[in-house]
C-alpha cells in the first residue's frame, strides 16, 4: 500500500518568465490508499499539474511530495523508481504509442524496469485484460487501432508496470458514452481485483459521482474541498461557486425532496434514482 501526501506544495508554470502562472498554491493533501479518488475541477484549475507532481514529472517549487513518508525528491537519482510505483496515464495518452505492435508498446514500461521477457509477457497479458483490450489486437500496429482501443492500449502500458498507485488524467475525455463506460467499468474492476489506489481526474461530475469513493475539488490551484461524495455533493452551493455542479439526477432528487416526496440524498446515478422512484411508486399503489 502506498500513501501519497502533499505538503505545502506550490508550482509555477513558466517560472521567471513574463508568463509566470501560479498553477498550484500551497496544496496540502493526503490521497487515501486503496480507494478510488476523484480529482475534480474546472479546466485550468491545475488538475493536470497536480497529478504530474505525484510521480515526479514536475518538481515542486515549494513544498514536498511524500510517498510512504519519503520525500520523492530527496534522492533525485531514484525518481524513475517513483514513476514505476506511481503510474501516470496522461491526458490523451494515445499520442504516446510508438512501437511496431501493441504488444511491444505495452512492454515499453516493463522493459524500462529491466524485467525479463517472461515476466513482461505475463504483465502484458494481465494489463490487456485489465484495460479491456481484446488480446487479438496485440500483434497489430497501434496506429491501426480505433480511438478507444488506442486509449485502452495506452492505459494497459501503465498498468503493465504494476504501479501501487494508478493515476489517470481525464481517461475518458473525447470518447463516446459507450467508450467512457468501458474505460470506467474496467478501472473499477481493476481496482477491485488489485486493491490498488486509483486516482481519476475529470471534470464530469456524473462520472465522478458514479465511480469515486473519495473526492477532491480544485479551483484556481487550490484544494476547495475533500471528502466522500455525500459530503461533497451536499455542498452544492460551494460547488456552483467554483463553476462545478452536482449531477443532474442528484439535483432532480433534491427538487423532488423539496416537493415533499420521500427520496433521500446520496443518489448519483439514473439507475439508483429509477429504483428509488419505482419503489415509492409501488408503495403508493
Amino acid at each position: 500500500m502506498a500513501e501519497i501526501k502533499l505538503e505545502n506544495l506550490s508550482y509555477f508554470h513558466g517560472k521567471d518568465t513574463p508568463y509566470e502562472i501560479k498553477a498550484l498554491d500551497t496544496i496540502n493533501l493526503t490521497i487515501p490508499s486503496g480507494m478510488i479518488t476523484g480529482l475534480i475541477g474546472h479546466t485550468g484549475s491545475g488538475k493536470s499539474t497536480l497529478v504530474q507532481m505525484l510521480n515526479g514529472i514536475l518538481r515542486p517549487h515549494e513544498g514536498r511530495v511524500l510517498l510512504d513518508g519519503q520525500d520523492i525528491w530527496e534522492k533525485q537519482k531514484n525518481i524513475r523508481s517513483v514513476r514505476f510505483r506511481v503510474g501516470l496515464v496522461m491526458q490523451y495518452p494515445e499520442y504516446q504509442l510508438f512501437e511496431e505492435t501493441v504488444y511491444k508498446d505495452i512492454a515499453f514500461g516493463p522493459k524500462n524496469m529491466g524485467l525479463g521477457e517472461e515476466e513482461i509477457r505475463v504483465r502484458v497479458e494481465e494489463s490487456v485484460r485489465f484495460a479491456g483490450l481484446s488480446p487479438e489486437l496485440l500483434q497489430k500496429s497501434p496506429f491501426d487501432l480505433s480511438g478507444g482501443e488506442k486509449r485502452r492500449a495506452a492505459i494497459a502500458g501503465i498498468i503493465a508496470m504494476r504501479p501501487d498507485v494508478l493515476v489517470l488524467d481525464e481517461p475518458a475525455a473525447g470518447l463516446d458514452p459507450r467508450g467512457r463506460e468501458a474505460i470506467f467499468s474496467n478501472l473499477v474492476k481493476y481496482h477491485e481485483e488489485s486493491g490498488n489506489t486509483v486516482v481519476i481526474v475529470s471534470h464530469s461530475m456524473e462520472d465522478m459521482a458514479r465511480y469515486c469513493d473519495n473526492l477532491i475539488v480544485m479551483n484556481e490551484g487550490k484544494i476547495v474541498m475533500q471528502g466522500d461524495r455525500d459530503y461533497v455533493f451536499s455542498r452544492s452551493n460551494q460547488l456552483t461557486e467554483v463553476g462545478l455542479d452536482i449531477p443532474q439526477v442528484t439535483k432532480l432528487m433534491l427538487i423532488l425532496k423539496e416537493q415533499g416526496i420521500d427520496v433521500d440524498g446520496g443518489i448519483y446515478t439514473v439507475d439508483q434514482a429509477l429504483e428509488r422512484i419505482l419503489s415509492i411508486y409501488r408503495k403508493s399503489l
Binding site: 514529472i57 495518452p93 504516446q96 502500458g157 508496470m161
Partner: protein, 273 residues
C-alpha cells in the same frame, strides 16, 4: 521549451508594440544606416541615447535586453581588443615592448562596441521583442509585394512562413507532452552513451512525426475546404491601415540621421577616419 514564450517576443502594451510592423521594418533598415553614419564622439553619444530611448519606448525590462546581448559578448570583446592594440594613431598613451596603445585605438574600440550594441538593441527593440513573428511575416509580405510583378511567389512564401511559425509552438508543446508520457513509463533521456541517447529519442520522434503529418494533412484539407488557392485576389481579415501617427517615428529616425550627419560635420570631439 515553453510554447507561449516562443521566440523572443515580449508582451507589453507600449507605443512600439502598437506601431505598424511595416513601419517597424523600414525603421530598422533606417536605424542600421544611422548607426553607420556615426563618426565622432557626439554622434555616437546620440546613437547610444537613441537606443536607450527605444528601450524605454518598448517597455521591455533592461534585464531582458541585456540577456539578448549576451551571445555577442565575445564578438564585442574581440573587436574592442583588436581596435585597442592594432589601431595606430598620433596620441601614444602607453608603450611597452611591442605593445603600443593610442588614444585613437581606445576611441575606436568604444565606438565599435557602441555601434554593435546599438545595432543589436535597435533591431531587437524594433523587431524581435515588440513584433510577433506572424505580424513580421505579414509586414514582409506587404513590403515585398511589388516583387509579385516579377512573378516571385511572395504570398506563398509568406503563407509557408506563417504556417511554419504557427507549427513551432504546437510541435514544441507536443514534444513536451510526449516526453512526459514516455518519462512516466520510465524512459530515460539523460543518461547513457551517444547511441543509447539517440535510441531514447525514438519513442518521442515517432509519435511526433505521426501527429505532425496528421496535423499537416488536416490543415491542408481545411484550407482546401475553404477554397484556398494562393494569393491571387486574396484579402486580409485584419487590414492594417497606416495611421498618421505611425509616420512620427519615421520622421524621428530621419531627424536622427540628419543630426548625426550634422554632428559629423561639426566634428567636435574625437572623429573616426
Amino acid at each position: 521549451m515553453k510554447s507561449i514564450a516562443f521566440g523572443q517576443f515580449y508582451p507589453a502594451n507600449s507605443p512600439l508594440h502598437k506601431l505598424d510592423p511595416r513601419i517597424k521594418v523600414i525603421l530598422t533598415v533606417l536605424y542600421i544606416v544611422c548607426s553607420f553614419l556615426c563618426k565622432n564622439l557626439l554622434s555616437f553619444a546620440l546613437l547610444a541615447l537613441s537606443a536607450i530611448l527605444l528601450i524605454l519606448c518598448g517597455r521591455v525590462p533592461i534585464r531582458i535586453v541585456l540577456r539578448g546581448l549576451r551571445p555577442v559578448l565575445i564578438i564585442l570583446a574581440f573587436t574592442a581588443l583588436l581596435n585597442i592594440f592594432w589601431t595606430k594613431g598620433e596620441q601614444l598613451l602607453f608603450a611597452w615592448k611591442f605593445i603600443e596603445i593610442y588614444a585613437e585605438g581606445l576611441y575606436a574600440a568604444v565606438f565599435m562596441m557602441v555601434r554593435i550594441a546599438t545595432l543589436i538593441i535597435g533591431t531587437g527593440m524594433l523587431l524581435t521583442y515588440t513584433t510577433t513573428p506572424i505580424a513580421l511575416t505579414d509586414a514582409l509580405e506587404d513590403l515585398l509585394s511589388p516583387l509579385k510583378k516579377l512573378k516571385v511567389p511572395v504570398h506563398e512564401f509568406a503563407m509557408m512562413m506563417t504556417i511554419a511559425l504557427r507549427f513551432i509552438p504546437l510541435l514544441s508543446e507536443e514534444t513536451e507532452k510526449i516526453m512526459t508520457a514516455q518519462k512516466a513509463r520510465g524512459a530515460d533521456f539523460s543518461s547513457g552513451g551517444l547511441i543509447q541517447r539517440a535510441k531514447a529519442l525514438i519513442p518521442i520522434l515517432i509519435p511526433l512525426f505521426v501527429s505532425a503529418f496528421n496535423r499537416a494533412g488536416d490543415l491542408a484539407t481545411a484550407m482546401e475546404c475553404r477554397c484556398y488557392h494562393g494569393g491571387e485576389g486574396r484579402t486580409r481579415m485584419h487590414v492594417r491601415h497606416v495611421r498618421l501617427v505611425d509616420f512620427i517615428p519615421l520622421l524621428l529616425v530621419l531627424l536622427l540621421g540628419a543630426s548625426l550627419i550634422f554632428l559629423n560635420v561639426l566634428g567636435i570631439g574625437f572623429s573616426m577616419k
